[in-house]
């Protein structure tokens, strides 16, 4: 079958940031009526390529052709007007405005220069209906879940006569049903002849929806392949440039632990989490499984003192302790890597070294600065151990990819040599390679006697790492299951579904 002429062709794209060669001679072509997956590890240059295409960044070299015409977009607005619409990884909408406005702002239907709110709401409802959604379009966007907000962002992208639709990790915050709904919409758009560029870390989704893929590694093009001709194993090998060792269970069995480190008794916070009792032993990895919003993060925040408990006690090493502030928790050597690395953890304008040293400095107090020599030594050690890339401690964190930012955050807490490390979704939105590294690290830490509370939405991951799994449902700890061969994802899912009554 002859391949139709590409609607978009990027050739020889190069882009440099201070100290980083983000893209080097990358080609990409998008065919009408196809879903094209852009694959690569974090830091491979996917986001940069998309930003060059949509006019957020200017390419240093190379050319972009849209329907045979050379184009260069100076801003996202110009790209949109040319028919290239983007839905970004983080929902970039204004949550203070109504749903209808978020879909149509900048293109509001007007009469005599006056915004016609009635027609605007009708048009918004129409566009949402195309996505099989029925929302109150005059309600503020903040009243809807992240998943719905994502759909609204797509509805917005569809309103213009889009010829190219870019979906940059649209599924990372959606549940299975919502992903199915999104895919139905994508197939429909495909039939309409729109070229879709799709970025996702979920390989199964890539294979379900995409027709063709372009693989990047370290800012360079690896190649373009039809999806059905490339096996998953080959894909991963091409992405990380080496054969991936099988991800087996890092901890098969529930080992015997007899030295309790943190004991929470009837700890709870009204409206956030029902009172729960949980013991974490030294060297034990405790996984928390449950749906989004089931109270996983709330447990972590209570144990770190980020929220005040409404009742109950905590004992650390057998002695009662009061965890009223994160500082108190830190003095007990509890560390917390939060879910939202951008908002709660890293300071993008500081260097890797400064970000890593921050927590250590905070525990020492400002009157006793960490000597530069010691800083360099410590940071060097962790940059190497965690394989932070680029391995330059003086790099700004802002310029690092998501997976590497996550490693910097981890390094910050590891430097404190915590006895309990709380990891809230440490592997979300990062690629397979970095994911395995972080999982290995957790296993190593636990072998070294550090207790880990591991929160993840991926049940396989929880099972692979944990000695013991706490199951949450509706803000209640419903079961505590020792890990073993008989504990499978199916059992976990059943427990979540049944609430542990079965």
């Amino acid at each position: 079958m002859a391949v139709p002429a590409p609607i978009l062709r990027m050739s020889g794209i190069g882009k440099q940031f201070p100290g980083v060669h983000a893209l080097d001679g990358v080609d990409l072509r998008l065919l009408p009526g196809e879903v094209h997956a852009l694959m690569g590890e974090n830091g491979a240059g996917k986001s940069t390529l998309i930003k060059v295409l949509t006019g957020v960044h200017q390419a240093d070299e190379g050319a972009i052709e849209l329907a045979g015409q050379a184009v260069a977009f100076g801003s996202p607005l110009e790209a949109r007007q040319a028919g290239i619409s983007t839905v970004y990884q983080e929902v970039n909408l204004c949550t203070n405005l109504s749903v209808a406005e978020n879909i149509l702002i900048g293109r509001e239907p007007r009469r005599w220069g006056r915004i016609d709110w009635k027609r605007m709401r009708a048009r918004a409802r129409e566009l949402l209906a195309r996505l099989e959604l029925d929302l109150d379009v005059s309600a503020p966007l903040s009243s809807y879940s992240l998943a719905i907000q994502q759909m609204v962002a797509i509805a917005r992208a569809l309103d213009v006569e889009a010829r190219v639709l870019i979906l940059d990790e649209p599924t990372s915050s959606l549940d299975a049903d919502e992903v199915g709904q999104l895919f139905r919409v994508m197939r429909r758009l495909k039939e309409e002849g729109i070229a879709i560029l799709f970025v996702s870390h979920f390989l199964d989704q890539i294979y379900e929806i995409s027709d063709r893929m372009t693989i990047l590694r370290n800012g360079r093009l690896v190649g373009e392949y039809p999806t059905r001709e490339l096996s998953q194993v080959d894909l991963v090998a091409k992405m990380i440039g080496q054969e991936l060792a099988a991800l087996d269970r890092l901890h098969g069995e529930a080992a015997a632990f007899d030295r309790p480190l943190v004991e929470a008794r009837e700890l709870g916070r009204p409206g956030a989490i029902e009172p729960f009792t949980l013991t974490i032993h030294e060297g034990e990895v405790v996984g928390l499984a449950g749906l989004l919003g089931s109270g996983r993060t709330e447990i972590a925040r209570l144990l770190f003192g980020a929220d005040h408990a409404g009742g109950g006690q905590v004992a650390i090493g057998g002695a009662p302790a009061s965890l009223r502030t994160p500082r108190a928790a830190m003095s007990h050597k509890i560390a917390f890597c939060s879910e939202n690395r951008k908002a709660d953890g890293l300071i993008p304008d500081l260097t890797v070294r400064e970000n890593i040293i921050l927590a250590l400095q905070a525990t020492r107090g400002w009157t006793r600065p960490v000597p530069r020599e010691q800083q360099d030594e410590l940071v060097g050690k962790y940059v190497k151990a965690l394989r932070i890339s680029p391995p330059n401690p003086e790099h700004l964190v802002r310029d690092l990819s998501g997976g590497n930012q996550q490693k910097v955050l981890l390094a910050r807490w590891l430097i404190l040599e915590p006895r309990l490390l709380i990891l809230d979704e440490p592997t979300r939105g990062i690629d397979v390679g970095a994911k395995t590294e972080i999982q290995r690290l957790v296993a190593e830490l636990s072998d070294g006697g550090v207790a880990v509370l591991f929160i993840s939405a991926e049940l396989e991951e929880v099972l692979r790492l944990s000695h013991k799994v706490g199951v949450l449902r509706d803000r209640r700890l419903v079961a505590e299951l020792p890990n073993g061969p008989e504990l499978t994802t199916d059992v976990l899912m059943e427990t979540i579904a049944s609430g542990g009554r079965a």
């Binding site: 957020v56 996202p76 204004c94 405005l97 702002i105 900048g106 006056r114 915004i115 309600a139």
Partner: protein
């Protein structure tokens, strides 16, 4: 939680609650005043609040635009003073007619706002510091024109200033009130029914998102400072109607009154949320405090400041509690 249910099963959207609280406060103050003092509970008392604060209302309208984008404009008081000074001097010295002076003053005010907005946008400087510089600049310019109070004696100007527009039943307002009302209506229309207005809200909600949604964020930011500059100049003209003089010491600290009025009216200082009606109510509350104190008679005028301070604390706390509840 995005709605607040009231008794009787009626539900009002959360966004209207702060405005409603301010409205209730105003009503409560009026009722208490009416019980305590003879002659307080009359329509003219409310109208006098408008008459005495028309200039503040206009300035606060401009401030609302700026704060809605998440910015701040500290220069408004100085621009008001500069406007009174330029009007008075040009009419007194060379004897320019008001119909030339007033447009010129409005042009100068808008121009100052435009320059400040451009600096904020083009160089990505904190609005606080840019408008602080503008505040010193405008106040300084007043004193280069003259250090003394300049009386306004232009007959057309004074006649217009002293006009009483009679309403029904012995009630009256000044032309300034009419002008302020027109400004409020036009501004409310712009905020609610034009793309500029919606871009103002979007910019305040999330500048980054607004940019990625393809909205003209830069132009919007420049526009709001220009609007604020225009409103300050117009406020200055209204103040010269009220004072019939130009003076470098007029409107000292008015930027703070304007900010207070906007905040008490329920607009979030972080931007993106608020209504112009709230600002009107905010100005009325501030004005009514002064009226109550003058009816009280024994309290010094500094009590106004104390009450405004307490009110601000209360309202900021309220906003904090409120936004904590709506965004868990």
């Amino acid at each position: 939680m995005t709605t607040l249910s009231l008794g009787g099963g009626r539900v009002i959207p959360a966004k209207y609650v702060p405005v409603l609280v301010t409205a209730c406060l105003f009503a409560a103050m009026f009722v208490v005043g009416g019980i305590r003092y003879d002659g307080f509970a009359s329509g003219q008392v409310v109208l006098n609040v408008f008459i005495d604060n028309a200039f503040l209302l206009v300035v606060a309208v401009g401030m609302t635009f700026v704060i809605l984008t998440g910015g701040i404009d500290l220069s408004v008081g100085s621009v008001v003073a500069l406007s009174t000074m330029i009007s008075a001097t040009l009419m007194a010295g060379p004897g320019w007619p008001p119909y030339l002076v007033v447009p010129l003053v409005l042009l100068i005010g808008s121009g100052l706002g435009l320059v400040m907005g451009y600096l904020v946008h083009a160089f990505d400087i904190q609005p606080f510091i840019v408008t602080l510089a503008g505040m010193f600049l405008a106040r300084g310019l007043c004193y280069t024109i003259g250090t003394d109070s300049v009386p306004i004696e232009d007959p057309t100007f004074t006649a217009f200033a002293q006009t009483r527009i009679d309403l029904f039943a012995d009630l009256w307002i000044s032309p300034s009130v009419l002008i302020a009302a027109v400004v409020v209506l036009v501004a409310a229309y712009v905020l609610h029914y034009t793309r500029l207005g919606r871009a103002v809200y979007a910019t305040g909600g999330s500048e980054q998102s607004a940019l990625l949604m393809g909205l003209p964020v830069g132009r919007t930011k420049i526009a709001v400072y220009t609007i604020s500059g225009f409103c300050s100049a117009l406020g200055g003209v209204l103040l010269s109607f009220y004072m019939l003089s130009g003076y470098g010491l007029h409107a000292v600290g008015m930027e703070l009154d304007a900010i207070a009025a906007v905040v008490i009216g329920g607009t979030l200082l972080t931007g993106g949320t608020g209504f112009l009606l709230g600002t009107v109510l905010g100005v009325l509350v501030l004005g009514l405090i002064q009226t109550i104190l003058s009816f009280e008679g024994t309290l010094s005028s500094w009590w106004t400041k104390i009450f405004i301070g307490l009110l601000l604390f209360a309202f900021i706390l309220l906003q904090r509690l409120f936004s904590a509840r709506t965004r868990p």
